[in-house]
């Protein structure tokens, strides 16, 4: 539990589990309220966030939200738009009007072809999860160097750490530029040894991020020891 159980092993709940000891808290994500008490609907760890009880899922599919920074791969190109695989249930649209270049109708493929990666932002997400992305914005661009790795979206908070401390320590130890996108893709750019170190640390967090003692495991990993 955040706050009152800091350092304690988080409580794992399974779908359908009745949580009877927090009846005074409001139900949040992954919780439904019933006459018996709160019921977990997801497999994950129980969190109390300022009076709201929610389940931090251990495994989840990325559901895009407006404003999310995403790394997408071009999956198809039409005359005036690109379809991006953003690791969600549906491909996102990137219209040529929201690309950073002046694109003539029918010329989209010459700017970006199938398989290329982009750093974009989800501009609009409607209730049926259709996504429109934009590349207009500071830092949004086509990614042509470095390496992209994927992590489960629920491990992103663990990768970032409190106030970004964890990702900052990986950046400093590996001397790499790292961008963590909300859709679970991580861009790493630096020299080969630095990228290897960063990938190893990220892989360790992917496997064990939900367990306590992450800080010491990360320090050992970055120091060259086994995670």
């Amino acid at each position: 539990m955040k706050g009152n159980q800091k350092g304690a092993e988080p409580r794992l709940v399974i779908p359908g589990e009745v949580i009877s000891d927090h009846a005074n808290l409001n139900p949040g994500c992954g919780i439904i309220k019933s006459t018996d008490g709160h019921i977990a609907t997801l497999l994950g760890t129980l969190n109390n966030n300022d009076g709201t009880l929610h389940v931090q899922p251990i495994n989840a599919t990325y559901m895009p939200r407006s404003g999310d920074l995403v790394i997408g791969y071009v999956e198809a190109v039409l005359s005036n738009l690109w379809f991006l695989d953003v690791a969600g249930p549906f491909n996102a649209l990137l219209p040529m009007s929201l690309a950073p270049w002046k694109v003539e109708f029918g010329d989209a493929r010459n700017h970006m072809d199938v398989g290329e990666a982009v750093l974009a932002r989800a501009q609009e997400v409607d209730e049926s999860h259709s996504v429109v992305c934009t590349m207009k914005g500071v830092g949004l661009r086509k990614i042509s160097d470095g390496r992209i790795v994927s992590i489960p979206v629920q491990q992103i908070p663990n990768l970032r750490g409190e106030n970004g401390a964890t990702i900052q320590s990986i950046k400093e130890a590996s001397d790499c530029r790292i961008i963590v996108a909300e859709n679970g893709r991580v861009w790493i750019d630096g020299d080969a040894a630095g990228i290897r170190m960063a990938v190893k640390a990220i892989d360790m967090i992917t496997r064990t991020g939900h367990r306590s003692g992450l800080e010491s495991r990360l320090a050992a990993c970055l120091a060259g020891g086994e995670a």
Binding site: L12, P15, G16, T41, S128, H210
Partner: protein, 242 residues
Amino acid sequence: MGGYGDVKLLNDDGSRLDGRSIDESRPIEIKAGVIPAADGSAWVKHGLNEVVCAVYGPMEAHPRKIQLQDQAVIDVRYNMAPFSTSDRIRPGFNRRSREISKVTAEAFASTVMVERYPRSKIRIEIEILSAEAGTRCAGLTAASVALADAGIPMRGMIVGVASGKVEDTVVLDLDKAEDNYGQADLPMGIMPTTGEIAFMQMDGDLSMEELQQAMDYNFAAAAEMHDIMEAALRARYEGGDE
């Protein structure tokens, strides 16, 4: 459900041919997360039944004509491997596998929070590797664990259990001989946390009293099996490296 009257299925002391008592289930083992490529997966060994289930999604529903604008579609594919029984099964869909796929999907539509994922599809692949009566129940159990492992929100986990009647006696968890030569079979999908029934079929004849007895056996067995499912999910995330 042949109901052949001359086949002896109970010993003189009232126990069953494999030594179990009438309200005793076959041994069950469950593991979660057995297929790394899937979003969620599970392996169930129930008696001599062996089932692997993989869950993918939510993903875009294809073909588009199957999309529902306000909820996800649950697409179940139940399949018995050709080598799963003593007589080779012709690969591919048949009438029985279509029926089981359909009823399994309908069972999960009542517990999975499909309204969270409009226009999407949640794909459940159930593969029977070894069959010894009760594969649809083992498939339901495996699919529940795989769905939980995939992080799909559900109101509860469905447990597949069955009871039946042999030699005018209601027994829990029929094995192959009891299923083939018994008088009735009552497979059910139960959510033990709420006490709800998500799936129920009946083959053969049961009186009202026998039906009640069979349901009581099923509910008791479902509660025990739910604990094993829970332990499998906890072992995956608390004990192991992954």
